[in-house]
Symmetry: C2
Subunit: 339 residues, 2 copies
């Protein structure tokens, strides 16, 4: 094979060195220019807001500089990192588990809300309100060790598919938000999830899907109990609520788990309002972003009147306070990862 | 000034280069040999146990290898990272706060357990048992914002001195354990505190003193509440217990906050037993260590009968299971940092 020869004019050692240095410089400059950290975002205000904020808090000579240890970013999950229609995916998991467990529970076919679920009548099951939902959740999320529960969720998340898109649920995460998580981490942010979803449910896939390790996942929880058995200790999941990580609960849980006030918060619904307010009200540079679901064609379009992910008060407050509002239809080149 | 000249024999460029390379090699080798990661530990079994474990889990070709993301180490605080005699330091903080707050509470001089504290009769105050302690804790730890509480703890930890040693409490941390924390982190362990002490109390100084950031501090907690005030949102500390991070509570809290099972656990009392059992019972290489207080001269000597940091069942279990038992008198060259 022929080796590529330098140009005739760069024959002397000094000229060769100059050639090499110029080549390196050229490579660096072209890489920097083509290295868009958010390639799935259109060049609109939302993307500019994000990049301006990150550059401000990471530039040591900027008045808004934030030390790396303080760079805490919190993300809601349902509707912010992955879809939540026609129902929160964990609710679908719950119904799927009722179906799977039914053979061991013959009594369920005459007992609401289980009977409705088994007939495929989700609206009937939901008509029992919060108490019915709680009953379904406890029957499917408690009464096993933490490892048994994680195994059940892992089975589901790697096989169950969304009824409308046919995708695995873990493939219905937002590509632009995955890029945003990576971009923040590349700038020494510690990224946390702070979601109304179940903490042990999300921990099963958050590291693989979002790059967020279990110890950076905050969510709703049921009580658990340590028990010493003949073959060793276990932690058991109990049918009793521990904490609802929603609305006023979000800043409370963020303080409890993290103990620092975030510098950036990302949400999509009224359930995220207090987390955003808590983040925005601190001194120094802060960033609040709302994902507004505006794309009925590629995802769903919903806000003030939606039965899941209702965005009403938080949309008003975002507009009044100048928080960044992502318009999915306009701001995102792609919604889901390209398979 | 004369510059140091290279030896005459290293006059040619090639020889000079060789000289520089040899000098670098020499520096690397001597640094490696003198670079004892645990210089305050005597060369006894305890130190060997620690180093053997760390080398096992960090060597990729070892059957005990543990991936960096799974390298979770949990440390008790009182009696494991800092002293706890004659009383848990947070109890002393509580009494100091009662004294400081007394002018605003004239009713306390006739009201137990406050009256005993104000008379300096700690045994009298403690004679009311857990209920009295809880009452003192709530009066001093609740009823303010999280920032106000942190400021009060910060004032105390930077000024209050231990009655016997005259040291600041934060100077009564164990130098060998600080080295151990650093050594584990240098080997890509994530170090957590899992203590019966108050989570927001410890977070005030854990980063400065132990290098453990707030989001890696787990402890007991009271309930808190988000409140929107005219001048912005606050989180208020409420006079109601949330969680006691002791005994069976430790593995429960570790699972709740971290969501991974630790590979190494460090404690000193029966309050740490379940955390150690939970850690030890997992598959793969695991490390459990108990600090045994045996040095009445340099610190305190106590175990099975102590009113704080009682070490009875956990000492038996450590002996039966072959966990590492640190004998402070024999194993530690120094106890506290050298000022």
């Amino acid at each position: 094979m022929n080796m590529i020869q330098p140009e005739t004019g760069s024959g002397t050692p000094a000229a060769r060195l100059l050639f090499v240095l110029l080549a390196i410089l050229f490579a660096v400059v072209t890489t920097a220019c083509s290295n868009d950290p958010l390639p799935s975002w259109n060049d609109t205000k939302s993307k500019n807001d994000i990049i301006n904020f990150v550059e401000k808090v990471t530039s040591k000579d900027n008045i808004g500089y934030v030390a790396p240890t303080e760079r805490i970013a919190v993300f809601d999950n349902d509707g912010t990192l992955w879809s939540e229609q026609p129902l929160y995916f964990q609710a679908i998991y719950t119904f799927d588990r009722v179906m799977a467990m039914a053979p061991q529970h013959p009594e369920w076919k005459d007992q609401e809300p289980f009977a409705s679920v088994l007939k495929g009548d989700i609206n009937g099951a939901l008509s029992g309100g919060e108490i019915a939902l709680l009953e379904l959740a406890m029957a499917t999320h408690a009464g096993m060790t933490i490892e048994e529960f994680a195994d059940q969720v892992r089975d589901w998340i790697t096989t169950a598919r969304h009824p409308e898109t046919g995708r695995l649920y873990k493939e219905m995460v937002y590509l632009p938000m995955l890029e945003l998580l990576d971009y923040l981490r590349a700038n020494q942010f510690k990224t946390f999830i702070a979601s109304g979803g179940g903490i042990e449910f999300m921990r099963v896939f958050a590291e693989e899907v979002y790059g967020v390790p279990p110890e950076q996942v905050i969510g709703s929880s049921i009580k658990t109990k340590f028990e010493m058995r003949d073959d060793g200790p276990v932690i058991l999941r109990l049918p009793e609520l521990n904490f609802i990580d929603d609305k006023e609960g979000k800043p409370v849980a963020i303080n409890q788990y993290i103990g620092r006030r975030p510098v950036a918060a990302f949400g999509n619904s009224d359930g995220d309002l207090q987390m955003l307010q808590w983040t925005a009200a601190a001194e120094g540079a802060r960033f609040c972003l709302i994902v507004h679901h505006t794309d009925a064609e590629r995802e769903w379009a919903y806000d003030r009147l939606s039965h899941v992910g209702k965005l009403n008060k938080a949309l008003d407050e975002a507009q009044n306070r100048g928080w960044t509002i992502v318009d999915i239809k306009k701001d995102w080149k792609h919604v889901y990862p390209l398979n």
